[in-house]
Symmetry: C2
Subunit: 517 residues, 2 copies
């Protein structure tokens, strides 16, 4: 498929291949794609609290204002829209930011190279993706080390074969063995060739954003992308209340190309905002709305995701916490605020932790943050797999452990079906008081599919566990990610598309001097 060609990805499920490959592909292709939550979102706050948070966001944007630094074009767009500009500070009349967000779609399809892997963002849809941005990786065999492009590729492969991740992610880890100004090329190449799930593009400079968009066009076609989102960009806010030029440059590039922009206020409470959860929620809302407004000014109707990233600090030691109760409250409130704004929401949670190893603390934090995220009704979950050390490290074993947890969550949100089959009166007539249900027709019929079966969790007897040498879940996870990589088969890609991507990367690498900082 050429840049101008139609989108016609080949589903790997239609290809032949060995048993392991088939299993990996079937697991993946059979289960990703649009996924709906079938249980209600949790409504933490009532109407009065929500209205007060919205009023506070409006107050911040009207009285305090928000800086768009170094980006004259952004200031021009805001001025044109009637905002008050004072230097680089932008102020919105109460209600104005919300009004500017109104053209953002409540829901949209994020198209994948394999159409079976396309997802919907918004409504009751749920999209899980790996961690984002770690400079380090760790595994049991080699320990903690700087991440390389091969690690990056491995995580893209692992996400591809997992039935529980719907999205390949963005900067899953930093490929630190590649010059800073060329990393986006190799990362895009990996997402576009080693996976066929949705992905995110580069944002660390305008030209890197443009390169990323150009590479996507080689696969999806310029025309298709004019009216269809095929990639996402993460635009971090330099909280408190600052958007900087690098980020808004990338924002404008993606918005101009009609690709999905995710706005991510990033608030460590007490530092980038006040220490109280209510203030963090209101400030996040203000920052997200201002960014969404800019996207809509660049291109009305451009798909956005209302993002957030927030956590708490131990204000005595300065240590950051993830999955803390205060942060989880903010996660739940923000999903409500985003729903009221009628835009898809990315949770600030995911399976996140400050722990330095994949121990009980790591999983307690991760599970807690994940529950807040999932029950909040978030549409996109970043950091659903791999995160350790507050995001400094992607763990191979943590990744596999998080997949088990993600699969369990996805099972849970399908809910409890209450109907004649699930209530099974016939079973009671067959078994009854004091009689075991193991051999009833209903149990036999449902036994294979009734319960989610994790890949790693060991529920066997203590004695067996001791005989096996007391393997911890981390050791079992080590086996599991290796097994997944061994079973990996790349999704097919038209040779001329692959060649055009390779050529693009080679050309750009030749054009650019190596920059390591």
């Amino acid at each position: 498929m050429s840049e101008s060609g139609a989108v016609q990805p080949v589903s790997p499920a239609r290809r032949g291949g060995g048993r392991a490959g088939r299993a990996a592909r079937q697991g993946s292709i059979a289960r990703t794609g649009p996924f709906r939550r079938r249980i209600p979102a949790y409504e933490l706050l009532d109407e009065s609290d929500l209205a007060e948070l919205e009023a506070q966001a409006d107050w911040i944007l009207s009285e305090i204002g928000i800086d768009f630094r170094g980006d004259g074009e952004a200031l021009r767009l805001f001025a044109e829209a009637g905002c008050e500009i004072e230097g680089e500070r932008v102020r919105f009349r109460p209600g104005q930011a919300r009004a500017l967000c109104a053209t953002a779609p409540a829901s949209f399809t994020l198209h994948a190279r394999d159409p079976a892997c396309s997802v919907i963002l918004g409504g009751d849809h749920l999209v899980l993706m790996p961690g984002y941005g770690s400079p380090f990786v760790t595994d049991l065999d080699r320990g903690r080390r700087y991440a390389t492009i091969e690690d990056f590729r491995n995580f893209v492969r692992l996400a591809w074969v997992s039935p529980w991740l719907h999205h390949s992610g963005g900067t899953v880890c930093e490929p630190t063995d590649i010059p800073v100004n060329k990393r986006h090329l190799d990362m895009m190449l990996a997402h576009l060739t080693l996976s066929a799930k949705p992905f995110m593009g580069g944002v660390t400079s305008l030209s890197r954003a443009e390169d990323s968009i150009a590479m996507a066009r080689l696969v999806f076609g310029r025309e298709f992308m004019q009216s269809h989102a095929v990639m996402q960009a993460n635009i971090n806010v330099n909280s408190p209340l600052v958007y900087d030029e690098t980020m808004t440059g990338a924002l404008r590039a993606y918005a101009a190309a009609n690709q999905c922009v995710c706005l991510s206020p990033a608030i460590f409470s007490g530092a980038m905002g006040p220490v109280t959860p209510a203030a963090v929620a209101a400030q996040t809302h203000a920052e997200a709305m201002a960014g969404i407004a800019l996207v809509q000014l660049v291109r009305p109707g451009c798909p956005v995701v209302y993002g957030s990233f927030h956590n708490t600090m131990n204000l005595r030691s300065g240590a950051l916490s993830f999955g803390s109760p205060e942060a989880n409250l903010v996660t739940m409130a923000l999903a409500q605020l985003a729903r009221r704004l009628a835009v898809p929401v990315r949770s600030g949670g995911g399976q996140i932790t400050a722990a330095n190893s994949a121990d009980g603390q790591a999983m307690a934090d991760s599970t807690s943050a994940m529950w807040a995220t999932i029950l909040s009704g978030a549409n996109q979950v970043w950091h659903a797999a791999g995160w350790l050390e507050g995001g400094l490290t992607m763990g191979y074993e943590k990744f596999a452990m998080d997949l088990d947890a993600s699969g369990a969550m996805l099972r849970m949100v399908t809910g409890m079906a209450v109907n004649e089959d699930t209530l099974t009166r016939a079973s009671y007539r067959e078994a009854g008081p004091g009689v075991n249900f193991l051999s009833t027709a209903h149990t036999i019929q449902h036994f294979a599919s009734a319960n989610f079966i994790p890949d790693i969790a060991d529920a066997g007897p203590y004695e067996t566990w001791v005989e096996r040498g007391r393997p911890t879940v981390v050791e079992r996870a080590n086996d599991r990610w290796k097994e997944m990589l061994a079973g990996y088969v790349a999704p097919p890609i038209a040779p001329q598309v692959a060649a055009s991507l390779q050529e693009f990367v080679a050309r750009r690498k030749a054009e650019l001097p190596d920059e390591w900082y």
Copy 2:
């Protein structure tokens, strides 16, 4: 205080003592007692599904029926109430079981020896207690072994000094070094002298129930207990749909004494009931209602707790799972059904796991089950600390880790306050775009109390962690429970009450031959 005397426990907070003792007491006394959830309960199912589950429970009780085996008195009470009796099978007309439950209080106070530690069960109140029933204990120093009375006492001490447990529990672990028929005496003595929080009494035979009640009367007085609940009894259902004589004998003893009876259907889905979550929920509802009905027939108005215990099995291996998505759905549905029945509910969850060690799997399971439990709106959480191996083992380190998690949960359910102080407009005037909030007056004012600070979780940098020898959370937990035991100070007790308890135990032990099975 004598058996006939008024209740006049002495609050340990009023006593002198060393620094460690003071700290332990202050931590405990300051924070336990009635505790209210201030966030909404999660409503998983809608009216139509809930009505269908209730109709199914009614169908089970009317068409299939439920056995009360070996207890002629129970059958007589049900016959008198108009139930249909066929042998030992009892059948209720649709709506009849619910009607018989109507006299059970929606909410009641469970009085503690220290009135400051009394709790409320029902409404939006929340009571956390340790694990129940483990024959084994484990710790890092001594490994896994049969539990002894000294282990039992240790866990009672740990629960006493924890600010996050409101209840001392029941058979926290089995004191296997004491004859089976005398264990209840030593367990009651520990709950009544080493703690002043609420507790549960013995149920494994009618005489042991009566001994437990007699010992409570030595502390609280017979007259007081006629109109006040001071203890709870766990009545397990021999699911599917069987109450046996031992349990109903104990049930009748506690109900006659007006003490709280907790009914605990125990369903491993696929074995003690169908494999589908909806069926497990409906069957639990039927079994719980039948037991509550019997309590009310013995003594109308006697406080009850609608309990449950359910988990899933890997139907291929027979291994039991805890914290599974299907079990968590049942937990959430049952809290809704209990609320509609207007009785306090004990969750089937808690911090439970099938894991053989306190690793990441253990905490992922535990945290997941705990979230389902807490958000369900459950009033009493059993197994909030210590459980491993599906309840076969109480872990000292797991106990300390679960306390951190319990504390975080209790912080979370206090909710997000949205008001002028928490929104802190003054801070934005003081800091503002691009300016750090660390030194604002609001941050300085709130920094010490703003965020929950766990005892064990380590959020420090990787380098520091490596320097310290890479301690896992389990190693830190090992330090923590020892520190807690070292700081333990027993709550005061009137010498004559302590003497009467000792005398009772000595007399009963002398009267009974040792029975080891």
